[in-house]
Symmetry: C2
DNA sequence: AGGGTTTGTGCAACTAGTTGCACAACCGGT
DNA sequence: ACCGGTTGTGCAACTAGTTGCACAAACCCT
């Protein structure tokens, strides 16, 4: 039950239309909570029906569509409640690790190439995060908001760092392994 | 579409009944691909219907229930295919990071306690992984299977290490922040 | 022998996320 | 004025995972 709260957060940061939200879910918020535009529109409808957000009265009423939404007090309260409520970390699910485990029984053929591809993707993501860090968090700023957001970005950076290192290590191991096509 | 492949892997490692699989999904495989017993039984049914696995002819035919399954050649082939096929990493989703981001707009009240709880959970998990490493991967062993499985475990250890460090850092930051109940 | 717990299998309903498509409006070029 | 791309909103169907419950057999306790 996190998508509605992701949307509330985004709307509190800045009231937006569905498409604007979709764009922001392709970066920033989307880096740790992705969503498609279909999901977003559906959820906006629900949140409005529940009275947590409302459509901003458009300047030019309804002519060229494009509804923007803002958060109502009830929405802010719900978000605060959710943020403070204890939640268990949800069980891991990682396909790549599963495939490695499978490779231990059916052989490693083909897997190496995909590990290399993943390494490249994680490197790219890491570079992007670092760039954002440089741009948005220069040494000076220090409001609580900045510190919290920086903390979140740091998690992203450190996670991508972990993956690049682990994949590098894995590829090194693979280099020493015979490329089997069948299991033991 | 990974649960069936997780099951195939587990069954290749050792033919098992539904409950035995469930137990193994609570550890080892389950550390990076969790599943409930309901999911597992449903999937076993499907895999059998597709001819990828079959029920082992029980010694005492059907007296006290308990069906064990083994993987058929078609199942092994499917697993090998899946393991080798390129797959994109799926977009991140992390509730805790989302909550931190929300806290930047609605205040940090209550969040600190849950961060502490998560830190404790990750520490425990890390300790468990290290114990498994000590037990299952003593310095001597060196078959390709061992190396691959160790690699997977290493990922688990490093991920938990990351989380404990990040949470420690986050809590240190929180200590300096005023515990706000409302946003800016 | 009866009664509670554990073992083992499974169905049904629900929730969240994904995929595929529809369609109107507007924007620019020819 | 028409045509094709982009912007913007949304429905419908499907897939994967979760939650809640049912029920039979076995085990073990008094």
């Amino acid at each position: 039950m996190s998508l509605p709260h992701a949307i509330l957060t985004a709307l509190l940061e800045k009231p937006s239309s569905g498409l604007e939200l979709t764009r922001r879910f392709d970066k920033s918020i989307g880096y740790f909570w992705s969503a498609t535009h279909q999901q977003i529109y559906r959820e906006l409808g629900r949140l409005e029906a529940e009275g947590l957000i409302r459509a901003l009265p458009a300047e030019q009423p309804a002519r060229g569509q494009k509804k923007s939404y803002e958060v109502l007090p009830a929405g802010r309260a719900e978000l605060a409640r959710w943020t403070a409520a204890a939640q268990d970390p949800k069980p891991q699910r990682d396909v790549l690790l599963l495939r490695l485990r499978a490779a231990a029984v059916v052989g490693t053929a083909g897997l190496k190439a995909d590990l290399r591809r993943h390494l490249e993707l994680h490197r790219r993501q890491l570079a992007e995060y670092r760039q954002i860090e440089e741009r948005d968090f220069p040494p000076g700023r220090d409001t609580p908001q900045d510190r919290l957001r920086h903390l979140v970005l740091r998690a992203g950076i450190d996670l991508e760092t972990f993956w690049t290192q682990w994949l590098t290590h894995a590829l090194a191991e693979f280099a020493e392994l015979p490329e089997t096509t069948e299991g033991p």
